[in-house]
Amino acid sequence: MDAERKSEPMGNRTTVVKRSEREVVVTRSFDAPARLVFEAWSKPELFKRWWVPKSMGMTLHSIEMDVRTGGKYRLGFGDGMDFFGRYIEVTPFSKIVWTNEESGENGSVTTVTFEERGGKTLLVMSELYPSKEALDAAGTGAQDALHETFTQLDELLARA
């Protein structure tokens, strides 16, 4: 991963690396100081504008975020499909760690760090799963959600 960073020191490219059988790491640079990137991650009214891009084909119905150590969050996508968990650690402008509890025991812990370098911010996000199997089963969230949407549609059509 270090070699990659060197070859593309601050290119705004999203890279994904599997650090181990149960950890995925995403890196991306942003042309802004860390406090602004952190703000966009920690204020619900800003967060909801980018967390569910149109290409995901989902709509965020409700959002509750208490971004501080020990605080909770809950993202509702309608029809009882909620993503929720707790913030294990929040250090303003530099780090947010949270649990993903909707998958029960197979839930991952997400760690995001914001590292400012010359007015730009390097974001490193790690998703650590309890086991290899949990990671393999995780999919990308969007796909699972999409699958669920289609299942709901199927059910609706079957009833009609």
Partner: protein, 121 residues
């Protein structure tokens, strides 16, 4: 950027380091075969062949399925390809999010400028 975990490479290379196992892969590329078939063809005991197939299975190069008393072996879906596809889907999701995040951050930057840099770094 796709990278693979060391353990996958290790498992694949270990599996391919043996001449019999490479032969088994060649054989399975032509047709599926039972462990008994393979043992006969490579002049080995059933137990020996089971071990080789086990190593190939572990590396994701071969899959086996037991129907009745016969365990049939076939070439596995390449795990590396599967993993590359998984990583690419994951990357696309995050790339879409971060493109949207760029727009939000640009707006924050503009706003901060307009506010006359009230906030000190």
């Amino acid at each position: 950027m796709v990278q693979y975990t060391q353990s996958h490479f290790d498992a694949s290379f270990a599996a391919l380091s043996d001449v019999t196992r490479r032969g088994v892969l060649e054989q399975l590329a032509r047709a599926d075969a039972s462990i008994t078939d393979l043992a006969g063809r490579f002049n080995m005991t059933l137990t020996g062949m089971k071990k080789h197939v086990g190593v190939l299975e572990q590396a994701g190069l071969v899959t086996t399925e037991k129907v009745g008393r016969v365990r049939t072996c076939k070439l596995g879906v390449c795990r590396l390809e599967e993993e590359a596809a998984w990583i690419e889907r994951y990357r696309q999701l995050w790339d879409a999010r971060f493109t949207a995040l760029d727009a939000v951050i640009e707006e924050l930057k503009r706003k901060e400028k307009a506010d006359g840099r009230r906030k000190k770094k």
